[in-house]
Amino acid sequence: MPVTHATGWGRTNFALSRSEQPESIGQLGDLVTSTKDDRGILAHGLRRSYGDSSLNSGGLSIGLENIASISIAPETGVATVGAGASIRSLEYKAREFNLFPPVVPGTGFVTIGGAIAADIHGKSHHVTGTFSSSVERIQLLLASGELVNLLPTGESASQFWATVGGLGLTGIITEADIRLRTIATPFVQVEETREPNLSRLLNALKSADSDFEHTVAWIDLSGDFRGRGVVGKGNYENHPHPSRNKQSDGLSFPNIGKVSLINPLTVRAFNEVWYRKPLASGKKSLSAFMHPLDGVQHWNRMYGNSGFFQYQFVVPDGNEDFIEGVLATMRDAKVASFLGVLKRFGAQSPAYLSFPKPGWTLAIDIPQGVKNLEAIFNSLDEELCRREGRIYLIKDARIRPEHVPVMYPRLNEWQKVRALMDPSNLWQSDQSRRLNLC
């Protein structure tokens, strides 16, 4: 069995594991039942998790790229999708029938299995909820080798909601039914506004939520860190317009080795241009609007070999001063970031470990190598715990294990359901070991 070296998207965590890519669900089942290994098994998709959620040092790592069939029933609008299929390929196929997944993340390079296991969200969270709100069925391979169908209600509901957001630790998701929504055109009507400071930015986002299905803000994390930014809002375009349905891979960022292009100077310059750029308004293609990160492939290489962290948290309403505090902390630590994404969340999903909850979420990319960054993150985490906030586990590469039960108060319930589903502790990841999840 080949041993491969893998990293998370942030290139800060590494793992050596034996790796397999089964051709079919049948072959996957044989592989799982024949594996006896203390280090366990973990399935992975496109490895867009930032830290060690997709890594399994010393164990078996199973790639699901060959389990990626997509079939759509146009009359019901439900897609039956192999876990290894990407959101992007599902979107492409769905558009043939004027359908579209109701929840898509900032990148289309996420598999259906990964989207469920992280209970991902998108710009539409305040309206649609998380990805799991459109999942009607999950087919899961249990440690026993048995394939089961889990539904969001009824007898299997607790297993369904433990698998949603369950980081691949309840079994291997092999297939799912996704309810799609109809779209009149593959376009979005977009509006942007420029806001000069944090309070204006927060207000603009808040008021946009009632009129727009998709809202998000880019926040300038450089210079004087007063929280200026650009609010992007969009609704599906309803007036038909001829269009092409084409998948483009965009450009690819070269491997630049040890060098990092990210420093306060380049970030400052980029952010100035980004803030001043002409505001978009009118029609924009769905994929360009939904997946702004996909214009350049391998953009994570921009940070050089030492990689970067994404700090994404959510705090409940009334904790706007925490966001200000984060900006002040970054200013004092002289950390500039060109990716700062702010969004308001809607209701919490029924999944035990789902990240979004009502309030504000901010995601910040920060290069490795900033002085005292580890301690800075830890003290922000402590403050987050006091304010009933939490860190997004799929972005995590470094939180301390004792913070997890505070951030995720239903961890204990999840652990009980999980233990019944996997009594032999077959499903493991570097993150589950680091955070004592199982």
Partner: protein, 246 residues
């Protein structure tokens, strides 16, 4: 597990009463530390380290090699071990001609026990697919001198073993690094005549911490000893004898 900063979550300090060992611990990034095993003959807590981690004393008798396997199992019983610092050591005073028993003890502790425990830990780390081991060798292993060759030979043996093991471990995710300190001011060397480039345990701790974080397999403390080691090994015997005389 290491986190994204490559900061260890679980550390074992074997020879936890060693001043150098403790100094290394103080200079390591401890933000991610959850458990630190302190292994020594009569385990005692460490002072002067602020960390949220649990410091767990474990009894360890270096010369009782039969007990080592069970001891290593304990180190891995709560999960992965990210870093092992092997800091056990005994000074084989003078030479074998004056105190053979002392030299025998140094051989048993510095070479036999340290090499064996290192190999046992490495084996378990290979199973987990990651891990780093730091072994404390000595500048004295560079070239035999008439006043400390017994001690030097034990460290030379350990050094050789560690580097060999590191070669063997390539591609497993596990690695061993060797630290070669010069004369260090500690309880062990108290009362002895200090050699040139004598340093404190703190300095050694700092060098060791950066060696652990790097990908290097050999480090000197202080770093000036690295070119000096090369010069020492190239000198003609007569010249070396003359300059190494105390």
């Amino acid at each position: 597990m290491l986190n994204g900063f490559k900061s260890p979550q679980t550390i074992a300090l074997i020879g936890s009463t060693s001043e150098i060992g403790q100094a290394i611990l103080k200079h390591l990034p401890l933000e991610n530390l959850s458990t630190c095993y302190l292994a020594s003959r009569s385990p005692s807590p460490i002072v002067g380290i602020s960390s949220k981690a649990a410091f767990v004393p474990i009894a360890f008798e270096a010369t009782d090699t039969h007990s080592h396997e069970k001891f290593v199992q304990q180190l891995f019983s709560q999960g992965d071990l990210d870093l092992a610092i092997i800091a056990i050591g005994a000074l084989g005073n003078d030479s074998t001609l004056s105190d053979e028993a002392n030299a025998l003890n140094a051989m048993q502790v510095n070479y036999v026990a340290a090499s064996y425990i290192m190999a046992l830990i490495a084996k378990k780390m290979v199973e987990q697919g990651h891990g780093r081991i730091l072994v404390i060798s000595s500048f004295a292993q560079t070239r035999p001198r008439n006043d400390n060759f017994a001690y030097g030979s034990t460290k030379a043996g350990l050094d050789f073993m560690a580097r060999g093991l590191n070669e063997k471990l390539r591609g497993t995710g596990v690695s061993v690094c060797v630290l070669r300190p010069g004369f260090v001011r500690t309880r062990m060397t108290h009362g002895m005549v200090e050699a040139p480039f004598t340093v404190s345990a703190e300095v050694v701790g700092k060098v060791a911490a950066s060696l652990i974080k790097s990908k290097k397999s050999v480090g000197y403390a202080p770093s000036i000893l690295k070119p000096l080691a090369l010069i020492f090994s190239l000198l003609p015997p007569a010249v070396f004898r003359k300059i190494s005389q105390r």
